[in-house]
């Protein structure tokens, strides 16, 4: 059997990291040929949905490279990306896919060697993790479905607004002139990530067939009471409805969300 050669997609910002990669070339620094580079203007352009979509499409790893803090061509795009990736890693943990398959690093235009080191090290790490469970002979339907749920959660208003406002809330202050301590924000984020992921998971599971709370509890590994709590919220948001009652057990079916 030939050695596993991972497929790695790298998103590099135009001003620092892409130039760093160019410098690695100019300096003829060798690194493994597993990375495929996509140039974007700023690392902050990488919507959390993009790495998820790339992982769903079978990438073994996703590397996002931006300017060092303070060097961003667009002031602070990299710092905003840092917040998005932090959220995304929490989300990935819930899917069963190793969050280590996603990494954000800073590489400047003068760091050709560092670019090569980061790529080499990340490639080695992914080699150790092995192929993504999605691209094997028998792709894990469960992880794939979880990634879909994560993608929908990352597309939703609640998580996006929270991540989009994180720096404002924790570093400056909100409209009531309150500054939220980082630890408190992280707790809130963790809770919203879990909520949104669970809701999207329930939504996906009930898309093709109506399911009971019990069946959903089994499929998600949550307590029935937790599932019910999410369903109550989802009904309020028109994500789900009772479609049938089997004996005394209501069955829920997903509604199309516009």
């Amino acid at each position: 059997m030939t050695e596993f050669e991972p497929k790695i997609i790298g998103f590099l910002c135009n001003w620092c990291s892409y130039a760093g990669a160019d410098l690695a070339g100019i300096s003829r620094i060798q690194y493994p040929p597993n990375i495929r580079v996509v140039r974007v203007m700023c690392s902050g352009r990488i919507d959390p949905v993009i790495p998820l979509e790339v992982l769903i499409n079978g990438a073994d790893g996703v590397l996002i490279l931006g300017c060092h803090p303070g060097d961003c061509h667009y002031a602070e795009g990299n710092l905003y990306e840092e917040r998005k990736i932090k959220m995304l890693k929490r989300l990935l943990t819930l899917t069963g896919l190793e969050p280590e398959r996603l990494r954000l690093e800073w590489v400047s235009a003068s760091e050709g060697q560092r670019f090569a080191n980061v790529v080499t090290e990340f490639t080695d790490q992914i080699k150790k993790l092995g192929p993504t469970p999605i691209s094997t002979e028998n792709p894990s339907q469960k992880i794939l479905e979880n990634l879909e749920a994560a993608k929908n959660a990352a597309s939703g208003f609640r998580l996006r607004v929270l991540v989009g406002r994180e720096r404002e809330l924790t570093e400056k202050c909100n409209v009531y002139a309150e500054k939220i301590p980082q630890e408190q924000f992280d707790l809130l984020l963790e809770e919203v990530v879990k909520d949104e992921f669970t809701r999207q998971k329930i939504h996906l599971l009930t898309r093709y067939q109506p399911l009971s709370v019990k069946a959903l509890a089994e499929a998600t590994g949550l307590k029935p009471s937790s599932v019910l709590k999410q369903i109550v919220d989802m009904r309020r948001r028109n994500m789900i409805a009772v479609s049938d009652i089997k004996g005394t057990t209501p069955l829920y079916k997903a509604l199309e969300v516009s």
Binding site: D22, Y31, R36, V38, D47
Partner: protein, 568 residues
Amino acid sequence: MSESKQPRIGVFVCHCGVNIGGVVNVPEVVEYAMTLPNVAYAEENLYTCSSEGLSKLGEAIRKHELNRVVVASCTPRTHEPLFRGACEEVGLNKYLFHMANIREHCSWVHPKEPGRATEKAKEIVKMAVAKAALLEPQTEPEIEVQPSALVIGGGVSGMTTALSLANQNFDVHLIEIQDTLGGRLKDLYKLYPNDTLSSEVLEEYVQAVRSNPKIVVYTSSKVKHADGFIGNFKVTVNQEGKEETLDVGTIIVATGAEVLEPKGMYCYGERDNIITQLELERLMREKKLENPTNVVMIQCVGAREGKEGGRNYCSRICCAVAVKNALEIKEMFPNAEVSVLYRDMQTYGKDFEEQYSRAREKSVQFIRYDAKNPPQVTASPDAKCIVRVHDILINETLELEPDLVVLSTPLVQTEEAKELSKILKVPLGADGFFFEAHVKLRPVDFATDGIYVCGTAHSPKTIPESIAQAYAAASRASIPMAVKKVRTEAITSFVDENKCSGCGTCVKLCPYSAIQKDEHGIARVNDVLCKGCGVCAASCPEKAIGMRHFSDAQVLAEATASLGGRRK
């Protein structure tokens, strides 16, 4: 040539002599490219960037009716403009061109693995073709630039900028908050390193500004309101209650800085003989310094605090100021003892170090203290002032009895500048000073085009440094005004108003203040201000913001082209 029709992509794979061709099997890549969807034509070139290569590219676009072009060669950071130009020459919008980097990112870094390098090159081409198929033509709107500038601040930096611009025949409006020009220079006595009288320098400057017909001076004036963008700013200036709106093409911020008043430090304010360096300068200037016998200067008062939210920066000028004033006192009163209590003497550069040596020769005492154990000043109203300091070089606590204590305090941002930062929507850094677009590459530009910064408004600096920076700001501002027009970015974001919920997240995230809500609460992007970073699009809670040339679909098409595709 219709650009919206079915894509017909041309792929040009460059050998770059042996740089690519020596590693990557170029004919194989060309053959592979021909099999990719939407590719109508592919060829190899020895050097695509040569004049022969470029004319072949143009010919092929015409002959094969290509409406998208991919060149697989080197980095777009150097060669994209060249190939874009070749496309434009034959009437193809330059944004329908895309580059695949198979040199810096492939042949140069994998020379020992030609097989895998060739495979990688194929995939890089595949990715580029996938993006190219989705490319759309873009335009770079051109806007007029008015050849007039507003300089805010009539100190040495502002006056230098104003003169430099006026001498290039631009109209300059110079506004000063005080009732006379001069800024900090008005307070100083002699200027180091050559002891020129500040008043002489000032007189020359003010004379030149006042007599220049291209400069209109507004004293006792403040910026009240500002609107617009590069080339077309509308700035309302308030002069003693009277308001006037100025139309200017560029704005230069030269508002200067203040000296920290060390309230509550080292008994400052409790006795008349505990003063700041600036107050000492004034006494010397007005010849009111009365025969001091023992002078103690304390450095880093309220600077380099090294604590969260503190004034952690070095004010740069205080060491040289202390050395200069110590020498001056020695000159005026040869019998006076002068001690400088310091943490680190930072008399950098070619002249300051010499002055420091001269001060030592004149037996100015330099006593080093530790920041953790600063000098103690005791001052009872009747008794003498006592300064206790632990000299860490001889590890001994000394007791001095000065009749004059001089505190070296840092330059700090002014309250007015904080207000101005909000009016102009240009940022202040953590230290309170104005924050440039890029510390190394754009040191006098703000991130917002057409607004520049110089002098101590940007950071503490000496007069020569302020003047040098003022020239830099003037020269940066003169570029768009001389050209009289600027091309704005084509890569910008846009809002789908049907999706926008008016949450305002993007408004807060945009580093250029390019997004504002309209009267209906819907976000609107000002194309002229937008720089196309895409942070708004990547964060919009409703996914209502799109990016030109880097749309989600385009980025994803490129990113997923080399993958196996969705497994279900």
